[in-house]
Symmetry: C2
Subunit: 269 residues, 2 copies
Amino acid sequence: MNTLFQARYGAATAPGYTLNPTLETLLEHRSVRSYQDKALAPNTLELLIAAAQSASTSSNLQSWSVVAIEDPERKDRLARMAGNQEHIRACPLFLVWLVDLARLDALGDRRGLARDSLDYLELLMVGVIDATLAAQNAAIAAESMNLGIVYIGGMRNQPEAVAAELGLPPRTFGLFGMCIGHPNPERPAAVKPRLPQQAVLHREQYNAKQITAPADDYITTMSNFYKSQGMKTHGDWDQHSLHRVRGPEAMAGRDRLAEALKKLGLALR
Amino acid sequence: MNTLFQARYGAATAPGYTLNPTLETLLEHRSVRSYQDKALAPNTLELLIAAAQSASTSSNLQSWSVVAIEDPERKDRLARMAGNQEHIRACPLFLVWLVDLARLDALGDRRGLARDSLDYLELLMVGVIDATLAAQNAAIAAESMNLGIVYIGGMRNQPEAVAAELGLPPRTFGLFGMCIGHPNPERPAAVKPRLPQQAVLHREQYNAKQITAPADDYITTMSNFYKSQGMKTHGDWDQHSLHRVRGPEAMAGRDRLAEALKKLGLALR
C-alpha cells in the first residue's frame, strides 16, 4: 500500500502500513469530473442516504437534508448557477446537500415551543457540520461502490437562485452539490498530493513554525504533479491558492454569502 | 445486513442489500463515550491523518489543521472547557479539528500578496467544510480499525479559552473535538435510529410535506429506542430537540460564537 501513500504525499518512499479495504477507499479518493453515460444501479441512492444518516449529528438534531436531482433540465440550470460546470450535466445523479433548520422550526411551530437558537451563528454551524458529515459518508459509500464523486462549492455562488430552483423553505440553503456517477475510464482522475503531515498535524499545541517549510516542500511536490499530469498551471501552489482568495472580485458572488443567508432566513446572530 | 438497516431506522423489516466492508463500517457507526485504558497501536495517528488529508478540499486550499492531544492535564483542562465531559479525560487520543486560515495568511504575507477573501463568511464556510470532511474521514478510518470515536461540539463553548490552551494563531479556531480510543466492551454503545429516509431525501425539489409525518414515525421509533436502552428521557424526540434550541440560555456560551470568532480574527463579512 506504499503506492497510495506515495501518491497522496508525492513522496519517493512511504511507510509500509497494512491498509484495510476502508482505508484503501479513503486514501484512493480523487475528484471525478468525467462520467460514463450510464445509470446507477438500483437502490444506490438509498444506500448512500443510509450511509449519510449514519454519520454523527450534533445532539441528534439531524439538521440537514438533501435534494436528489436527475432531471436533465434542472441539472442544466444548476450547472449554469455554478459557473457552468459541465460535469453537473454529465453525471446521472446530482445531490444538493442542505443545511436544514426548517424541520426544527416546523416541529416547534406545531408544539408551540420557542426555538430562538435557530437565529444564531452556532445553529448555522451545527447545520453545516451535520450536512458535511452526512455528505462525506455518502461520498465514501459511493467510492466504495466504485462510483466517482466531486463536490460543487459553486452552489454558494447564487444561493437564492438555487433555493428558488429547489423550492427550499426559509431557514434552509444549498451548502454544496455533489456529482455522482461511473467514472469515465478514458479520462481517469489522478490522486492529488496533499501537504506533508507535519503541516496539518500539531502535537499538544499549534506550532506556527510548521507553516512555511512544509509548504515549500509541497510547492515542489505540486510543481512535479502539474508536470506529470500535463497541466499548465500558472505559478506555484501558494501563488494560485492566494490568487483564489485575493478578494471579493475573485469570489464568484460568494462575497455576499452572509447577505444571501440572511435573506434565506438564517440570521447569523 | 438487514440488521444494520433495522438498527439505523428502528424498522421491523429492512431491504436486503448486500454491503461491502466500507458500507458496513459506515452503517455501524455509534458514538463511543466509554474507553478502555489502552494505548493506540503505533502509527494509528499517521493513518488517521492520511485518511483525513485524502478528503476533498475546496480548491485544494486545505484550510484546516488538527491538534493531537495526549497530555492528561491538557485533556483535563479541555474537558472542563467542554462542560466537564469525562470521556475527553478517558480517551487516549483527543483531536481538536481547526478551521485554519492562518496558513494562507502566512503564505500571503511571505509573498506580499492580498488575501482579502479571508475576511468573508465564505472562507469561514470553506474552512468549516474542509475541516469537517477531513475529520469524518479520520472518524471512518478509526472505526474501520475497530476504534470508537465521539465528536465534541463543546469546543465551541469557550473558543477563546480553547485557542489560548492550544496556542492558536489568529484566523484559526477549534471547530470541534474528537475522542478516539478502544471502546469499553463493558459499556457498549448502541446504533441510534435516525429519521426515516423520506424525511431527509427530497426528489428534484424540497417537499415540505415530508416534515411532520416522518417525524411522527420517528418520535415513536425513538421512544421505543429509549425504552430498549433503559434511558430516562424527558418527553419525545422533537420536544427535547426543541428544548436544546429554545434560546441563548440553553447554548452553553455558544450564543456568543460570532463575537468569539471575530476576536479570533475571523471577520465574517
